[in-house]
Symmetry: D2
Subunit: 184 residues, 4 copies
């Protein structure tokens, strides 16, 4: 069977976003995991304006569509804003529909505070179900994002590597099971 | 491959529950669908008291465990109480864990009002993900439950039959995909 | 006591949005209610791009801040997209914080389907609590939005007028109670 | 004005519940706060069986009704089970309705893991809104409940005292504002 493809999407476009470092770390760990191909996606490259809705596909939403058509799953790394998801992430997700169907999705939450984006994870899962995705139970929470990495850009708490390997393993199990069923 | 087994659970134990008629109808339609074996489960037969927690398995929770071990998925038919699930349903679900893992779940919502239990469906899905189930996107909403059936007990709106066939088809697709992957 | 001021915000900027007609109707009914001053706000006039985050206040977000500083509450009229709120609405709400505190908010949901945006209402309430607003229990759901108004732009189901009067009465009760307490 | 009355409800009846210690600590701190009268309530004294629904008021639900009629607000201290509330807590809350109306509610979450019941807090707030309560923004999260108290039963992290004082202050602000408006 062909190697699975699961891109990693950074969900915030805010100035000074701490979630970018986290998403880069998650991307690196996905390459360490190695059992699926991956690609780094930044929401800022896919959402131009609030007007970019499903009814008006732009060049950028076409590219997003092509990537998700090929994908066997999706990882979203996103901060939590006011107990919800960033608006720009929702605008991007709402541009497509069938491209997501019957594929698993895993979420990594990022926050300045203690809870690592746990509330964003819940409400985003609700959207993902409506997109006919399978939100997996494993999630990795990155609280206190400002203090996660040292001056060299290395993560201070090495246990995140182990947690991500478990997260990727569950995601890959579903990606594989659903890819086989979609092809059958 | 062996025939799949997906029980149908009625989630309310309240006096005068309208959801029982709906659950019986869903059960009958599952037999019409015919591609999986099924069984009718009533929450009142599995939850004795508020004390029946995971730490104190009763005879009834052992039976529930045996049923879910054999099951390839679960249908929950439940009313919405105050935008949430009935307490007795939550007590029952919280008694098990591994028995649910990597199996799909579909929810039918019931309400006296216009919205068919839509809010209960959302918050129940959040629990089901934590139980490592796959909550499917299809859901069937039964609003105005008092007026759904005529004096003969027949459903007034025949379109529910079609909606349930679509619901069962999606559930069976996931049940089959995940059963194959669990065995692989 | 001075008359209360509660603006009405249309939360979608999508081409062909049906929610605009609903928001105009809600605005007209607020004037019929008459016990608070109101103003029609359109999300498209306050969110330019996905970059307009809290860290980069634009002229438009300054205006939004001035309006909410004066306001004693907020009505949001919004469609539901994939069981969540529109991204542009979330971008707009995330621009402010203190301006919202200790003021009530009421939500009217709009949908093409049968459920009138009920899921969006729930997850938006979760955000509003974090903004230190008081999400009121009354909500008005507008399902099947394409068919709500006749050729003359009149609502087909007059009962919406009554429902909105009840909604405004509850909102005004909280707006008054909290305005007095803020000033005390 | 008469002193406000805000009881504190322990929401779990599970054997070995860690949340009892937390609820006792919250109760003690409420007495330190001192600006409202309080009372310790244990869900096990109010829910007999899953059959104790609103339609069948027992002696215990009558007592619960009398307490909430007198109350100016409610504090709920509860663990999170599978990203939701305990079934017994939901059974208890679903027994009443008007007794809750136009009163604030604050939630303290308890968990064995790192997130302090944050998901339970969100879905419980959704119910509280439907009960016409005002769920306040402040919440206190008690993660790693097994390790919160030393052998003498004293809390290890004194900062919880400060957090609870802030929590009670916000709750009292709403309790006072709404009590005045209810009487007006």
């Amino acid at each position: 069977m062909e190697k699975l493809f699961i891109p990693i999407l950074l969900g915030s476009d805010r100035e000074g976003r701490q979630s970018e470092k986290v998403a880069r770390f998650v991307f690196d760990q996905a390459k360490v995991y190695g059992k699926f191909d991956t690609q780094f996606l930044d929401v800022k490259d896919f959402v131009q304006t609030a007007k970019t809705g499903a009814a008006m596909p732009s060049e950028k939403s076409k590219l997003w569509s092509e990537i998700m058509k090929r994908a066997d799953g999706l990882v979203i790394v996103s901060p939590e804003y006011n107990h919800g998801y960033p608006g720009e992430l929702k605008l991007m997700l709402d541009q497509l529909y069938q491209e997501y169907n019957r594929k698993p999705a895993g979420i990594c939450g990022v926050s300045a505070g203690d809870l690592g984006g746990a509330r964003m994870v819940e409400v985003l899962r609700i959207c993902l179900i409506e997109l006919q995705m399978v939100p997996i139970r494993e999630a990795v929470y990155f609280p206190k994002a400002h203090d996660l990495f040292n001056e060299k850009g290395e993560i201070r708490d090495a246990s995140y590597k182990e947690r991500l390997q478990k997260f990727f393993a569950e995601l890959a199990w579903y990606a594989d099971a659903l890819a086989k069923a979609r092809k059958a």
